[in-house]
Amino acid sequence: MAKYLLLKHYRGAPAPANDVPMEQWTPEEISAHVQYMRDFADRLVKTGEYVDGQALAPEGTWVRYDGEGRPPVTDGPFAETKDLIAGWMVIDVDSYERAVEVAGELSAAPGAGGKPIHEWLELRPFYAASPTDPECHAGG
């Protein structure tokens, strides 16, 4: 029972094996891809491992505090250069091995030519919200 975040990247990840931009797929290939993701999420609900997931729009803005009485500084979007996150899913699984297995399955979503896109997914564990770990006397 550990939660993991699966991150899909528009950019920033290594190039997938089947690296054809989505706009060059056929509409049927896109439908198949979307359907695969839906079915994947449904399967995770049924196995009791789904927590949440959303797709994110490609435009992102960097925002920074710019001092008392001034509006925040915004920077971007820089779609050409910056690492962009396309979407995310949170799963709750029994082990790291299972998390890798699930991510591998998501990475097999079909793309151009109906073949798996072999997309790279970033897998990040959540910190536990409130550990009740047995005593620590060494700070460890």
Partner: protein, 381 residues
């Protein structure tokens, strides 16, 4: 409305239905329906025999559900011919339910969810809240678990070890929500200890009580980690400690040592010391030796090395640590602590920072980062 009473009656009501021939999954649904009815009706009209009431209502719910399924008509008629027992049997076979819910065919998270639902009587919503997952996800997790065990025969003795592991998970992995899972784990383990005479069940119960007794002092108001040596011992729950120690002593007297009893013995030695400085580290090392014999776990050897550092000095602790793989979680944190005690502040600061980077949770990371910062600000001048 006594929700604790309702929950404590859940497992025995469920076992009565299963004993009468109801399928486990259907019986479980019927009992949940009966609990909902009880919550609705009891405040205005409390029954004299709470358990009898629940059995009657749950059985009626089960029959209703069965009746709607015409394919089962014949079996249902056969069941209905059986006389409804006036009083429920005194023999409590709740134990079977524990074994079923911890069945080895279930994944740990499924076993935990099923135990909380079927034995603990928690609602799906409460369990979902506790584990911070959507209710639909938890409902599926539970119904899958029920399907997995529905073919398992109810009267076979199970493995106590698997049950204890599930209860230990409940104790350790609770987050938030309106049910305190640590307290719930203690309640279920206490109930199990009443149903079965087993020194390791007593050992686990003692361990939970001893840890739980110190819970309030383990975190600062800001949520930060307070290490054992700095905890305010006046805030420890002395009644729970006394109970834990008493249960442990009775268990140890039976001379069938197991890992939970050994862990509880270590916890008891910490709880017994009036100040951190008076901790009996020599005896703690001896218990870690026992524990290492029982489990051969590297985590145990790591904790032992820290205890050796307290008993025989930091150099001895570092020597014990040196033979353990440094890839082990918390190895770096332990090394940092022992180096600081040995007077090597620079190495300690570096190791604390490294340990913070590898910390398994937020509270530990913050704590270790602060340790590194404390030592760094001391050496900066």
């Amino acid at each position: 409305m006594d929700e604790a009473l309702l929950r404590s009656l859940t497992p025995s009501v469920l076992t009565v239905l299963v004993r009468r021939g109801a399928d486990f999954a259907a019986a479980e649904d019927a009992v949940q329906d009966a609990l909902v009815e009880a919550v609705r009706l009891w405040p205005a009209d409390p029954p004299r025999d709470a358990k009898g009431w629940l059995v009657t209502v749950a059985w009626r719910k089960f029959l209703d559900a069965t009746r709607s399924d015409t394919a089962r008509r014949r079996r249902e008629e056969r069941i209905e011919e059986e006389p409804a027992p006036g009083s429920t049997p005194a023999v409590d076979d709740t134990l079977q339910l524990y074994f079923l819910c911890a069945h080895p065919s279930l994944t740990p998270s499924s076993a935990v969810a099923l135990t909380l639902r079927a034995v603990g009587g928690l609602t799906t919503r409460q369990i979902a809240q506790a584990y911070l997952v959507p209710e639909a996800t938890m409902a599926q997790r539970i119904s899958r678990a029920k399907r997995t065990v529905s073919g398992v025969r109810f009267d076979q003795p199970g493995d106590v070890g698997t049950v204890l592991r599930v209860l230990y998970l409940v104790f350790n992995e609770g987050y938030s929500g309106d049910v305190d899972l640590a307290a719930e784990a203690i309640r279920l383990t206490r109930q199990l200890a009443g149903a079965i005479d087993h020194p390791e069940v007593a050992g686990l119960l003692a361990l939970m009580l001893l840890h739980h007794a110190r819970r309030a002092s383990r975190t600062a108001p800001d949520g930060g980690l307070v290490p054992l040596a700095e905890q305010d011992r006046t805030r420890w729950d002395t009644a729970a400690i006394a109970e834990g120690v008493r249960i442990l002593q009775t268990a140890l007297a039976r001379d069938r040592l197991g890992e939970f009893q050994a862990q509880a013995a270590i916890a008891a030695l910490h709880a017994d010391a009036p100040t951190a400085g008076e901790t009996d580290w020599v005896q703690i090392v001896e218990w870690y030796d026992e524990l290492a014999r029982l489990t051969d776990s590297p985590v145990v050897r790591l904790n032992r090395a820290v205890a050796v550092g307290e008993a025989d000095g930091p150099r001895a602790g570092l020597a014990a640590l040196a033979v353990i793989k440094d890839s082990l979680p918390r190895h770096t944190a332990a090394a940092a602590y022992l180096h600081e005690r040995a007077g090597d502040v620079t190495t300690a600061a570096r190791l604390y920072a490294e340990a913070a980077h590898k910390a398994p949770n937020l509270a530990e990371r913050d704590y270790l980062t602060r340790q590194a910062a404390r030592l760094n600000s001391r050496t900066r001048y």
